[in-house]
Amino acid sequence: MSNTSDAIIIGGGIVGAATGYYLAKAGLTVALFEREFLGSGSTGRCIGGVRQQFTSPGSIRLMMESVRHYRDMEQELGADVHWHAGGYLFLAHDEANQQAFLANIAVQQAAGLKDVRWVNAAEAKRIVPDLDTAGLLGGAYCSSDGQAYPFAVVNGYAGRIKQLGGRVATFSEVVAILQEGGRVKGIRVGGGHEHYSNIVINCAGPWAKDVGRLAGIEVPVEPERHEALITEGVEHMNMPMLVDYRADGGYFQQYKHNGQFIGCYTPDPLVPGLSCDSSFEFLTQMPRRMLKLVPALAEVKVIRQWAGSYEMTPDGNPIVDRTELDGFFVVAGMCGHGFMLGPAVGRAAADFVRTGDRDPNIAEFGLRRAFGSREAMK
C-alpha cells in the first residue's frame, strides 16, 4: 500500500471521519490514523443528540446543514444511522432563562431556522404528556432537531473513505509530525511507520492540544470529563430531547430505534482532564434529575454508566483553521457538540483545506481569534 496520500487525518471520531469523507468525495486520497478504534474517543461516548438551537448565526446555519446531512445520511453512507427528528425542548423555569430563550429564538429564526418557537407550559405538556410542569414557564422547542446513532455514523463515514480508495488505520497513534522548511511532510505512528502528505489535519478532539504540540503548534483545547448513563429499551414515548439548565438539571432523550433512554449533565464544578472514570454520585444524581422531569420513568432500569471528554476551547466555539505550519490544519474543539456539528464542519473543513475558501459559517472559528465571546447554549 502506498505510503503517500493527498491528505492525512489524525483522529477517527466524527470530525476526522467526516472531514476525510468529504475530501475523499472531492477526489483526494485520504489516510486516516486513529490511536484506538473508530469512535473510541468523544464520539462514541456522546448521547447522540443533534440540535440546531445555537446562539450564533454561523453555528445555527452549520447545524441546519448538519441536519440536512443527517436526513440524507442513510443514502449518502449506505448505512442506517438511525436519524430521527424527535425535536429538542429547552425548559425555562425562571424569567432569566425565558428571556434568554426568547432572544435566542429571534436570532435562530433570523438565521433561517423557522420551526423553532417558544411554547408555554401547557404546550410543553402536550408535546411531552409525562412532563412534570411544576414551576415551568415554558420552553424553546424545535421539532426538526433530532438524534442519530454515533457508531453507525463514524463507521459509515470511514467505510466510504475506504470505498473511495482511502485508508483507515486503527490502533495507530501518531507520535510525530514530519516537517521540512516550514511545511508539513507527513506523520510517524508508534512502531515507526511513516506516511507522507503535504496536508495533515488535526482532528484529535480532546487530544488536539497534544497533537498540535507534535507540530510545535499551540491549540487551545482542554478536555473536560462528562458522565452519561443509558437505560434498557422500553416502549417509545415519542418525546424530544429534554434540556434543563437548572443547577440540578440535565439532558436526556429516548432513542427511537431501540427505546433506550440516554442522558447526561454538566457537573459543577467542572472536571478537567482526560479521565473517563465514572462516579457513584452521577449514577444517583442523574436518575433524580430524570425523574424530577418525567416521574413515569421510575421503573425503567439503568444498564450502564460511562464518561467521555468534551474538548473545550476558551469561548465554547470550535477551531477550524490553518496554522503557522504550512499544510497543517486544526479541526477540533467542538466543545461537546462534535456529533452535532461533525457533518457540516467536516464538509466546510474539507472545502477550506482543498480550496482555501472559508465558508462564512466557519469564519468565527479561527485558531488565533481573541476567544472573547461565549456560546451560551451548552
Binding site: E36, F37, L38, G39, S40, G44, F151, N155, G159, V168, T170, F171, T231, E232, S278, F280, E281, L283, T284, Q285, M286, P287, R288, M290, L291, L297, A298, E299, V300, K301, V302, I303, R304, Q305, W306
Partner: protein, 90 residues
C-alpha cells in the same frame, strides 16, 4: 445450525454471521465488534457474549486469549431502576 441462526448476543439478537461480518469488515477487538453489531450492549452488558466474541476473534484472527483487549466493565453490575438509584444516597 446455520451461522445466521446462531445467536451470540441474546440481549441484542446478534448472530454469529453478524459477528463474522464485523470481523470481515476489519474489527480486531471485542470493542469494535460491540460498536458494529451491538453485541454486549444489551440488558446483561455482555455477560454471556463477551467470551463468545473473544473466542471468535481468537479463532478467526489467530489471537492469543491472553493478548486480547477486554471491553470495559462498567456499573451497574445488573440493571437497577431509576427509582432505586434516585433514592440511594451518594
Amino acid at each position: 445450525m446455520a451461522t445466521k441462526e446462531l445467536i451470540i448476543c441474546r440481549c441484542e439478537d446478534v448472530t454469529e454471521a453478524e459477528v463474522l461480518a464485523a470481523i470481515g469488515q476489519g474489527a480486531t477487538t471485542a470493542d469494535e465488534v460491540k460498536r458494529l453489531t451491538r453485541a454486549g450492549m444489551g440488558h446483561c452488558q455482555g455477560r454471556t457474549c463477551r467470551r463468545l466474541v473473544n473466542q471468535m476473534l481468537a479463532r478467526n484472527l489467530g489471537q492469543k486469549p491472553e493478548d486480547q483487549r477486554q471491553v470495559t466493565q462498567r456499573a451497574p453490575l445488573q440493571p437497577i431502576s431509576l427509582k432505586v438509584l434516585a433514592e440511594s444516597s451518594d
